[in-house]
């Protein structure tokens, strides 16, 4: 089973400083590669089994792994221990049950590929940060009487608009502001921060916050800050606000957390659509 990605995307478009690195790893391969790089070992020659003990120690230190992620990390750990054992006892023949186990070569190949992926991602990230992108035009200045409009396409566009508008409308109805008390929101935020260690203010707001939801969220943060439960970080004026867990989290509030998650999920539908529109405006002058 694959672990789930940890780094969630900061709201897509917007002038924000890069996210502060989140603790933890993207997955077992990420952790293994980190070890290789930290120790300045050559992926091509290092005996991966030799990293077993260190890998296990790091997994132990990670602390809060959700069950499914732990499985993936431990699966890799067991492979490493097996490779180590084989290298110590060369006479050890693979037993039939191990046939599906990943071999040193396969693991190495995956690690090499993953290292390339990380380099490529970094190269793409550099390009993105450099901001040297292209823009196309929509061509709006043509003086010719158009022909050949498709009424079905027009009706489909209208349907799409209606669906989006209704979804936004529903969102407003289903999340009435009075549903959020400061106490409840405080508990929710406490739970999120306890679970994730840190979170951004933007994420707490979700994609399309109502004014009262934003206000309640903000007051809750001030309250938590006053109680020394969290730290607040902001690198620059108008920059992203980071909320970081301070004291070991109190018992998470079971009641509040659910609705925060639901809100986030529900937000995704509408937000996705809005994001597309925003994306469109960033990429072309159409809107």
């Amino acid at each position: 089973m694959s672990p789930t990605e940890r780094h969630e995307d900061a709201p897509v478009i917007g002038v924000r400083p890069p996210r502060v690195a989140v603790e933890g790893f993207e997955g077992p391969l990420d952790l293994l590669l980190e070890l290789v790089e930290e120790k300045k070992l050559d992926i091509l020659t290092v005996r991966l089994g030799d990293l077993a003990a260190e890998y296990l120690a790091r997994v132990r230190a990670l602390g809060q792994l959700p069950a499914d992620e732990a499985a993936a990390f431990l699966w890799l750990a067991s492979r490493l221990v097996l490779l180590k054992a084989r290298s110590l006892l060369p006479s050890l023949e693979p037993i039939p049950e191990e046939e599906d186990a990943v071999s040193e070569d396969e693991l190495r190949a995956r690690l090499i590929e993953y290292a390339a992926v990380r380099q490529r991602a970094a190269a793409l990230g550099d390009r993105l940060r450099a901001g040297e992108r292209a823009f196309h035009r929509e061509g709006g200045t043509v003086e010719l009487p158009p022909r050949g409009g498709d009424t079905d396409a027009l009706a489909a566009a209208w349907s799409r608009v209606l669906v989006l508008a209704q979804r936004q409308h529903r969102e407003q109805i289903e999340v009435p502001p009075e549903r959020y008390s400061v106490a409840q929101r405080t508990a929710e935020i406490e739970e999120i921060v306890a679970r994730e260690g840190s979170v951004t203010f933007d994420r707490l707001l979700g994609e399309a916050p109502t004014l009262s939801f934003a206000v309640v969220t903000f007051i809750s943060l001030l309250d938590l800050y006053r109680k020394l439960a969290i730290d607040l970080e902001q690198d620059e004026l108008f920059g992203e606000i980071g909320i970081v867990r301070k004291a070991p989290a109190a018992a998470p509030a079971a009641r509040g957390g659910g609705s925060a998650d639901r809100r986030e999920e529900k937000g995704t539908g509408v937000a996705g659509a809005e994001k597309r529109e925003e994306g469109a405006s960033a990429e072309r002058p159409g809107e």
Binding site: G140, P145, P146
Partner: protein
């Protein structure tokens, strides 16, 4: 060798769907009015013998296709179907099904700024102004044109295909 300032102006005018004023160009390109005039002249000269032209109406500047290219442009645009971006098509659908309607009302339905798409649809003669709404600010009302009917092969607006969803309130 083209100057960097001329290239900045070119890029901005390229993406702009409407003419851009001299003062806005100068501000965006970071140039004095005098430098800007020089760069505009440079760009205009560079377009000689190409498929594009630099045009201006008073202080408003834009890039357009060269008149000699009209047959090919017409052949592409008029070919067999209307070419509109999804965004423009959505704005058109709102206006077609809800006319007469103000820009603010269109934006309330679509949830995004519709300046550019309304401009595009106006320039394609698919929509037109239909007087003013008698509310504060007297905003312009938009409706579809007879070219719209012709373009979509409709004899009247009653023939617009019915859609399933129930209408939602459009008041902003």
């Amino acid at each position: 060798m083209r100057s960097d300032l001329a290239n900045r102006i070119e890029a901005v005018l390229f993406v702009a769907e409407k003419p851009v004023s001299r003062s806005e160009l100068a501000r965006i390109a970071g140039a004095t009015p005098r430098q800007l005039d020089g760069a505009l002249a440079e760009l205009g000269a560079a377009y000689e013998g190409t498929g594009l032209r630099l045009q201006h109406d008073g202080d408003e500047w834009q890039i357009a296709t060269a008149p000699e290219m009209a047959p090919f442009v017409a052949s592409y645009l008029g070919a067999d179907r209307l070419r509109l971006s999804p965004a423009s098509l959505e704005t058109l659908s709102v206006i077609a099904y809800r006319q007469p309607i103000t820009r603010a009302e269109v934006e309330a339905v679509r949830g995004v700024n519709c300046d550019q798409t309304i401009y595009t649809l106006m320039s394609r003669r698919l929509i037109e102004e239909r007087g003013r709404k008698e509310t504060p600010g007297r905003p312009i009302l938009y409706g579809t044109t007879w070219e719209f009917l012709e373009c979509f092969g409709l004899t009247s607006l009653d023939q617009l295909p019915a859609v399933m969803s129930e209408p939602v309130a459009t008041e902003p």
